[in-house]
């Protein structure tokens, strides 16, 4: 718990020190995290969360081998890696275009910051669909500049924001044991892996290669999965 607090302070300090980073995005991200912690993992939250991460990552040149966020109390004095593991093959196609759109119009598909904040509030406070519709029907907010006027159009905007929706297709299969056919649902495990490893929110906390960490006294340090032997032995 204590470590977590220190680490989140580190993260905030990083955010402040980075000049190019839009500060509002960090705020949004923090808020999302807080609100979501109390609640069930809802799809709506995921959408905004992912989108914020996308914007957040635009100016973030992350180093793949960077372990500065690792919650190790005694920092390792030295480490070894297997050369050429975890080396990237190339850039992700279409990513710069995506970023360009985001930089040009950070609030897309919403029309303004105000618009986005309202949508964000709707989602985070879990306003019911009927209440959202009632909000517009009763004319509580000015609808002139709104890019969405109902729960349905809001939903459509959120769908646009989530580029990973395709990974979450449920497959249906049925197993027949001779007497009964039982239906069950599953997801493609490869797609799930793709989704997790692509998730920009985790970009500073993903490792791609095993390392061996050593203390000043020469003792081996074990902290995370990638610092232990199993990964090292398996990696060819």
């Amino acid at each position: 718990m204590h470590l977590d607090i220190i680490l989140s302070l580190d993260a905030v300090a990083d955010a402040v020190s980075s000049t190019a980073r839009p500060t509002f995005v960090r705020d949004e991200l923090e808020n999302m995290t807080d609100s979501d912690y109390e609640s069930d993992p809802g799809l709506e939250i995921t959408d905004i969360y992912t989108a914020s991460g996308e914007i957040d990552d635009m100016h973030n040149d992350s180093d793949t081998e960077d372990v500065s966020h690792s919650p190790v109390r005694g920092r390792p004095s030295g480490q070894e890696t297997i050369p050429s593991t975890g080396t990237p093959q190339g850039e992700v196609a279409g990513y710069t275009e995506l970023n360009k759109v985001m930089t040009d119009d950070p609030w897309s598909p919403f029309s303004s910051e105000d618009d986005f904040n309202l949508a964000s509030w709707f989602v985070r406070s879990k306003v019911a669909k009927s209440e959202i519709d009632a909000y517009f029907a009763q004319g509580l907010g000015s609808t002139d500049s709104r890019s969405f006027r109902s729960a349905y159009t809001l939903r459509q905007h959120l769908d646009v924001l989530d580029p990973f929706r395709a990974y979450f297709v449920w497959a249906e299969a049925s197993i027949d044991d001779g007497r009964h056919a039982t239906t069950f649902y599953y997801r493609s495990i490869i797609d799930c892996v793709c989704y997790l490893i692509r998730q920009v929110v985790y970009s500073s906390d993903i490792v791609y290669a095993p390392i061996q960490e050593y203390h000043l006294s020469g003792e081996r340090l074990y902290s995370e999965m990638h610092t232990a032997d199993w990964w090292w032995d398996i990696q060819v």
Binding site: L3, D4, L7, T33, D34, D36, Y37, P41, T46, Y49, S62, T64, S70, P71, T85, T87, P88, Q89, G90, E91, V92, Y95, A173, I175, D177, G178, R179, H180, T182, T183, F184, Y185, Y186, R187, S188, I189, I190, C192, V193, C194, Y195, L196, I197, R198, V200, V201, Y202, S203, D205, I206, V207, Y208, P210, E224, M225, H226, W230, W231, I234, Q235
Partner: protein, 138 residues
């Protein structure tokens, strides 16, 4: 390399007569550092499948009926065959995946760990409930 960590447990949905049970299977990957991976707020654990709970055919419980028990075990194995089948060629040959830092890497997803309680391990591996899933004690 992408180590996959699987999780599963049987859980009760209702506590009334005619209890409903669900067997969710979750997965996550070992590349994410553990303080992120274990944080529910970051949602790094995905629901992979909902296992079918085989209906009872006879009045007897599954423990008493040998054929029923065998059917249940076979069903479970077949389901896991289906879920994990796409992993096999990819784990051997590798697959170029887009990574979080906007680079593409050749990834080898390997099922590396399975987090479950003893009853679940025993069911998954088809051993007696009093056997050890790790060593050779019968």
């Amino acid at each position: 390399m992408v180590p996959i960590i699987g999780l599963s447990d049987q859980t009760d949905l209702t506590n009334f007569s005619g209890d409903k049970k669900a067997c969710p299977v979750y997965m996550t990957i070992g590349n994410i550092l553990s303080w992120i991976r274990n944080s529910p707020a970051k949602m790094p654990i995905l629901l992979l499948a909902l296992l079918p709970v085989p209906p009872k055919f006879t009045g007897e419980s599954a423990c008493a009926n040998e054929a029923q028990r065998q059917t249940n075990v076979d069903t479970l194995q077949a389901v896991f065959d289906l879920i994990l089948a796409p992993l096999q060629p990819v784990a051997q040959e590798g697959m170029a995946m887009d990574c979080a830092d906007d680079k593409t890497r050749l990834c080898f997803p390997i099922l590396s760990a399975w987090i479950a309680d003893h009853a679940e391990h025993a069911a998954l591996q088809g051993i007696g409930s009093k056997s050890c899933p790790k060593c050779e004690v019968p």
